[in-house]
Subunit: 353 residues, 2 copies
Amino acid sequence: MVNKYWSDLVNRLEPYVPGEQPKQAALVKLNTNENPYGPSAKVIEAIREQAGDNLRLYPPPESDQLRRAIGDYYGVGIDEVFVGNGSDEVLAHCFQALLKHKKPVLFPDITYSFYPVYCGLYGIEYQTLPLTADFSIRVADYVGDNGGIIFPNPNAPTGCLLPLADIEWLLQKNTESVVVVDEAYIDFGGATSVGLVNAYHNLLVTQTLSKSRSLAGLRVGLAIGNSRLIEALNRVKNSFNSYPLDSLAIAGAVAAFADEEHFESTRSAIIRDRELLGTQLAERGFHVLPSAANFLFVRHLSMPGSALSAGLRQKGVLVRHFNRPRIENYLRITVGNPEQNRALVQALDQILV
Amino acid sequence: MVNKYWSDLVNRLEPYVPGEQPKQAALVKLNTNENPYGPSAKVIEAIREQAGDNLRLYPPPESDQLRRAIGDYYGVGIDEVFVGNGSDEVLAHCFQALLKHKKPVLFPDITYSFYPVYCGLYGIEYQTLPLTADFSIRVADYVGDNGGIIFPNPNAPTGCLLPLADIEWLLQKNTESVVVVDEAYIDFGGATSVGLVNAYHNLLVTQTLSKSRSLAGLRVGLAIGNSRLIEALNRVKNSFNSYPLDSLAIAGAVAAFADEEHFESTRSAIIRDRELLGTQLAERGFHVLPSAANFLFVRHLSMPGSALSAGLRQKGVLVRHFNRPRIENYLRITVGNPEQNRALVQALDQILV
């Protein structure tokens, strides 16, 4: 219904629908790719220390301390780092600042479903390019006139990884527009493109602390790229919200990058359990895509995705089902801790009898 | 310099410049209207309790618990409340969702300097209407064709309050567009317009926890209005960032609304000290505008604003000076605690000899 007080944009918008955040604690939650392990104890300590009288003061508007920590971690300068309120906010600024041009932005037909939503929000034309039959990105398809290119690596919801050599090949062919590599899941098995930003000034890499750093509740995302790209993001950010990161998020995120041991031990546990779970699902009649992420994208050879998803829910296990062409029979299942994974497999054994 | 990777928008943008956040702790910081008193001890406790393993999970995307707490506090329904990452983000969404129309949005010539920045960001036409000679808003000027109306109450940086009766008069005359009353400073002496939202479905009231709740470092803002206006804000929010408030901010903000005693004692101390400081400044040759905020807007009868601001800075006291027509000789001075206010007066006594 059209409302006279709404802008034309609002009357047209089709918002993104995030995975369910259930209010019952008893559910086995494998639907939003959260990390089954808590954040580093040092993160908790840093947040508790930061929580005090100084919350009366505004945070440092440019989050310098955090940007320096990230720059040091990845071997880039502070002016090559941008941070935001979750990588969703960072991506939104990318669309508005770097991907809005006369020509359409390109992304895969099966990918993070927020991309077309951003295009709707900012009035950006886009063109989707089909993944191959085995759900991989063929970079040659992206060469040619465009207003920008964006894809996750590994891709979501498939988990499939694009080799670094393919990304570099694309950057060599595509010099006139920005290429955004959305590395939300890169730490679970991929090689980051960050090392390419010095050579390719149109490459922007985004990451999040929500997955491999176990901090979805803290809302911190980042982008790394040439300082001129970062400047564009800063201009939009400073026209939208001067202080997107609160003092607690800054303190927690700095501590997260300082605890390499916690990071390594949790991500290797997830990688190990992903391989085990993949084998168990294959044994139960699932086609399992190769995953470099903290989730598996699977299709049962005889049972439809919607029925499986509903059956699992009845047994208290949440997974993500996308009712969309080409993937309507797939489920995206987060790799949980061993106990959660066992609960999933047991529930499947009851459903698939 | 035009950059081919930047969107046309970025090449045009003139971002907002926030007040300085100095890195030296020794300065007397009266330049960004922060509260001189820390937040409630219950807020700190709630944040420390929330800081734990559950930070691995996404926050509730609609911040239900906080919206209910705010609704209960103000006697409105949960669907009449919107929350965001600081009131700057809430205001940005208001401009995009409710103030972008074919006709220009109206606001005062002297007001919060982020308003024209939002217009630049979203391509919204605006028209400024001059404050009267004594710096008050004349609501009759706002009647007539427009795409929306927005002003702070009390106004910033003047501190001048508009009576509720004037706002209601304007709402009766202006029914075809949204009226946003930005109440960032309302708790320091004004009467909120929240009680009018049930009668006027085009009224949206915004507030922040950064000032009277001593939580600038936590980034929480809110809007209250008819559920159809809130729905418009939600549509934009859900097309931009599903989880704008982190779990710690939600927990802290809920606790802030539950500690009325802390709220009352700190705001009454500030109101009392504002009156004392106003008298002391008047005695030293300042013209002091009547203020209902946690700052004073003052002009010295013989010394220019820029010289005074620079002189105070040399003595370690930061105040805000806007180098803009009509107010270039004014200073906006945050009301600090008694010690900070004394330091300001002593520095002035040395400068004005």
